[in-house]
């Protein structure tokens, strides 16, 4: 069953909350963080970012720093935050490609450690392995678009802004990614 994303949308409250955040209201930052951070974190995890929580924290520090220059509605704010987060990941990957680090990231250590209910844990690990296997057969751009669409809950237009492509190109990447997933499943390479 598709796990419904908790509705943290701020809707008509957004302009008021944004103004309060710009003015330094701590409560407003709680609201903005709660509306965007969970989706950003899961997207970063699915992308295989070594330390997604750190990236989220760094992303919001940048958001605080540059919030006075932001103009737009809630969708624009989400798009902006995802853009910052994705750019941080790209920068991090570039740095790591220059200076490889062998230290095991927190995500791998957490996966190896026991986490509560063994049955749930086993099912989750199985699902994660299957999903990662399917995603591994996609191109980087196809994977990026599908993760932003499914986990980030962004529209085609918002994804286009985040990845810096035209909407038509994003739609094509999405369609080809879905077709590749279907092929993987029908070929029996992955049993879902």
């Amino acid at each position: 069953m598709h796990e419904p994303v908790p509705d943290h949308s701020l809707r008509e409250q957004f302009p008021r909350i944004l103004a309060a955040a710009c003015a330094g209201g701590e409560w407003a930052w709680h609201e903005l963080y709660g509306a965007v951070a969970p989706q950003l974190t899961r997207y970063l995890r699915a992308r295989g970012v070594p330390e997604p929580d750190d990236v989220v924290g760094e992303t919001f520090v940048k958001v605080v720093r540059y919030i006075d220059g932001f103009e737009g509605d809630e969708a624009a704010f989400r798009t902006w935050v995802f853009t910052i987060g994705r750019n941080l990941v790209v920068d991090d990957l570039r740095k790591r490609s220059r200076r490889p680090v062998d230290v095991a990231p927190d995500e791998q250590l957490l996966k190896a450690a026991p986490r509560g209910d063994a049955e749930d844990e086993a099912m989750r690990d199985l699902a994660t392995a299957h999903v990662e296997d399917v995603l591994a057969h996609l191109s980087v751009d196809q994977r990026d678009v599908l993760l932003l669409r499914i986990l980030g809950d962004l529209t085609i237009g918002e994804i286009a802004l985040v990845v810096g492509k035209k909407e038509g190109a994003v739609k094509m990447l999405q369609a080809r990614g879905l077709a590749a997933i279907r092929r993987q499943i029908s070929a029996g390479a992955v049993t879902l």
């Binding site: 598709h2 309060a20 003015a23 930052w29 899961r42 520090v61 994660t128 499914i150 739609k171």
Partner: protein, 308 residues
Amino acid sequence: MTPFDVPPDEMGIDPEIANEELEALLAGQGRDKNLDLTRFVDDLSTAFPASAPAAAAHLAAIANEAQLLADKGDPVARPASNAVAPVPQASRPPKRWRNTVKDKKARILIKVAAPVVALFAVLGIMGSAGALPRTLQHLTSHAAGFVGLDLPSGDDEGNDSTADDQGDENDQGDVKDATDQGDQNDQGDSTGSTDTSDQGDQNDQGESTSSDSTDQGDQNDQGDSTGSTDTSDQGDQNDQGDSTSSDSSDQGDQNDQGDSTGGSSGGSSENDQGDGGSSQDNQGDSSGDSGSGSSDSGSGSGSGDNQD
């Protein structure tokens, strides 16, 4: 691959249909039509749940960053912070603004003060050198006197005996020349006690006990001795061997050699050798030339002209 570089199994892909299918699936519709895709989306959501485990740490970092920016005077610290809930307002402008205001005042002060200081420095230096125009020099000297500085006032020019001795090169032995200007290689003036207004002598050697007055423009004048009463001798060049002459108003002699006992007052002689006056091309004259022409040919009572 097809000639269009599209994989054969992607030929029938319609991005619009795929987008509508996925949108419906994410909205919880049409799940039974796309079972494979539905299961994949479910597994993806299960594998990566929406959570922010480090929310507390992140919010603390956000609050810290906002506070830092508030201290620096960024917009988050401005009075609009009571948009929703009242928060303590800053009673003074933000720090950055305060610094900017302070900097602006300092910048204006520097812009005004720097030219004034530079002007005083230039006036002071030029005033101490006495190089200012008379009026300005007087004012500067007067102003400097208030603070105890002693600058030349511009009124005391020409009072000392060796003042205004300008432009001498290799001037040796002048004792009492007053207003001696432009001497070059002037050697041996000794006890030439009353040279006054001697201007432009070059290679003047050996004058002794002479009393040239208003002697201007002599060049290579050698051996004047006891030519005691030259007055207004101007423009001599290569004048050698004058002795005991009493030229007066002798102007413009060139290559004048061997004058002796000439008592004339001619002017503008050229290549005059041996005459006592101021004739031209006159060589070997002795005693008695008294002409004043420019091409002297034995005028007057000259005797012994060799080349007239």
